[in-house]
Amino acid sequence: MTSRVACGQQSQQRRTGVRRTVTVLAIVVGVFYLLSFAQILLMK
């Protein structure tokens, strides 16, 4: 592990963590955008 980190690598654990965080956040942002734009369609 350490040696992979040493050559500029993120460890596998970090990689999955990042992927999970980004997925959650992307969904949150997506929902927020959808809500913001859904009201545009719904209201008029």
Partner: protein, 547 residues
């Protein structure tokens, strides 16, 4: 599976080749941080030049230099450029540079997205600024873009000259929003996943905490802004009537949606500043931060409250009494966690062995002058008082104390604080101090009289005024020109430090500096912490929750 990524990161390993590769294709957090900071400084001067036009026109009563419509373009553009171009990118640049160094990460979690976040910005601002050259002029309805001014044709240019400036501005705002959201996702992913072993959340420097919370604010409110301006767009060009009373729409709805974004936005511009000051003061007081945990909770508390105070910008529209009272008390509540922070900064200095290098001077000025802005905010939070103060220069004075002597002074403190780390050379302390003293004196000459103007009833966003306001306006303009000129010293000090300074910086730079970033060389290697550092408690930045 991890093959592509492996390959890429491997390329990264070498020093970047050539100017284009290094700066345009960069995936390195330090280089991208530098790009953000240069961009921000550029926008600071562009936005500043608009402010000079405003203060020149207001130097004396009567119309002398510019047409009223152009004046309104200047107030609008000044705000948009300073908020979205200068303050926010400066914090993102500082975050890019410092967060990985402070938590012992090799880089940001998503380096390529980082590149994209930055490179969207020059295009967004090119688009926004280009509207000034359109035949009908740029947006002139204020940075708040209230529907009433935007949707209905302004009295300024004749209808035939009405251009698509709103469409340009809206598209630019969408781009900035996307850039901010990607930046925020990147920062959260980095802080949650890339910390070196042993760097627990409650051991992180306060600056990192402040950015983590700010990033959540950004994610929550940028989509709301996008929705609001899109509705403006469809109202103006596609015949909808969200905000247009002619079709049964409600202009006040726009204000609600805008300020639901707008108030958290002002905290987006101050929380990272709180973080910076919480780094600088312990260093120069040579004491750990007082009440680390309270500092972190206070930031989180302010962030939460910032979502339930938006209508304090709308007291004058005639809200129901219950709403007035709710928003008044909720707003005044923010003073509690803010007060906690101010007292903790003072307590950090108390009994410390302080020295007053330029970063510390800016940080101390921040504490005092930001607090003045907080007090005028409290005055504005009182509904009956706000009926008088709303849309006067009192509001202008308030938000310039929190944004210039608050956010901008913190950015200057951060610049002086970390410049030796970034460049490997010391800046010129004498000229740094000259910059500080000029700035702190002139900024007060510029903005303090505006309190009096506002209390006496001078409206904001007007190119001409009653002669009764002449003296304070002239004073304010003189302060403005001198404050503007003082910033050239800032530019000079930075350029000198980056390219000409002979004085090498040590790794630690400041005697009292603590934190992982100071364990690296000055300047740090292009790739730092490729091996996660061992985090020792005495090296943690000025305190943590176990103290």
């Amino acid at each position: 599976m991890a093959h592509e990524a492996t390959h890429d990161l491997h390329d990264d390993h070498h020093e970047p080749q050539g100017f284009f590769q290094r700066w345009v294709m960069s995936t390195n957090h330090k280089d991208i941080g530098t790009l953000y900071l240069i961009f921000s400084l550029t926008m600071f001067f562009i936005g500043g030049s608009f402010a000079m036009v405003i203060r020149a026109e207001l130097f004396k009563p009567g119309l002398q230099l510019v047409q009223p419509y152009f004046f309104n373009e200047m107030t609008t553009m000044h705000a948009l450029v300073m908020i979205f171009g200068a303050i926010m990118p400066a914090f993102v640049g500082l975050g890019n540079w410092m967060i990985p160094l402070m938590i012992g990460a090799p880089d940001m979690a998503l380096p390529r997205m980082n590149n994209l976040s930055f490179w969207i910005l020059p295009f967004a601002f090119a688009l926004l600024l280009s509207t000034l050259f359109l035949p009908g002029g740029g947006p002139a309805g204020g940075w708040t873009m209230y529907g009433g001014y935007i949707v209905q044709p302004p009295a300024g240019p004749p209808l035939s000259l009405q251009t698509g400036s709103l469409a340009y501005a809206v598209f630019a705002i969408h781009l900035m929003g996307i850039s901010s959201i990607m930046g925020a996702i990147n920062i959260i992913a980095t802080i949650l996943n890339m910390r070196a072993p042993g760097m627990d959340l409650l051991k992180m420097p306060v600056f990192v905490w402040s950015w983590l919370i700010t990033a959540f604010l950004l994610i929550a409110v940028m989509p709301v802004l996008a929705g609001a301006v899109t509705m403006l767009l469809t109202d103006k060009y596609f015949g909808t009537s969200f905000f247009n009373p002619h079709g049964g729409g409600d202009p006040v709805l726009y204000q609600h949606v805008f300020w639901f974004f707008g108030h958290p936005e002002v905290y987006i511009m101050i929380l990272p500043a709180f973080g910076i000051v919480s780094e600088v003061i312990p260093t120069f007081a040579r004491k750990p931060i007082f009440g680390y945990r309270a500092m972190v909770y206070a930031i989180a508390c302010i962030a939460f409250l910032s979502f339930i105070v938006w209508a304090h910008h709308m007291f004058a529209v005639g809200l129901p009494l219950g709403a007035d009272i709710f928003f008044m008390y909720a707003t005044m509540l923010i003073a509690v966690p803010t007060g906690v922070k101010v007292f903790n900064w003072v307590a950090t200095m108390w009994g410390g062995s302080m020295t007053f290098e330029t970063p510390m001077l800016f940080a101390i000025a921040f504490v005092i002058l930001f607090t003045i802005g907080g007090f005028s905010g409290l005055m504005l939070a009182l509904v009956p008082a706000d009926f008088q103060y709303h849309d006067t220069y009192f509001v202008v004075a308030h938000f310039h104390y929190v944004l210039v002597t608050g956010a901008a002074f913190a950015i200057m403190a951060a610049t002086y604080y970390w410049l030796p780390k970034w460049t490997g050379h010391m800046y010129n302390e004498f000229w740094g101090k000259v910059h500080f003293w000029c700035s702190v004196v002139f900024v007060n000459v510029l903005f303090f009289p505006q309190h009096f103007l506002g209390l006496a009833g001078m409206p904001r966003r007007i190119p001409d005024y009653n002669v009764a306001f002449a003296d304070f306006n002239m004073m304010s303009s003189i302060g403005g020109f001198l404050f503007g000129a003082s910033q050239l010293i800032f530019l000079g000090v930075i350029v000198h430090c980056a390219f000409f300074s002979k004085k090498k910086a040590t790794d630690r730079v400041w005697e009292g500096a603590r934190g992982l970033e100071w364990t690296l060389s000055s300047p740090p290697p292009h790739h730092s912490f490729t091996v996660p550092p061992v985090v020792r408690d005495e090296e943690l930045a000025h305190g943590h929750a176990d103290d």
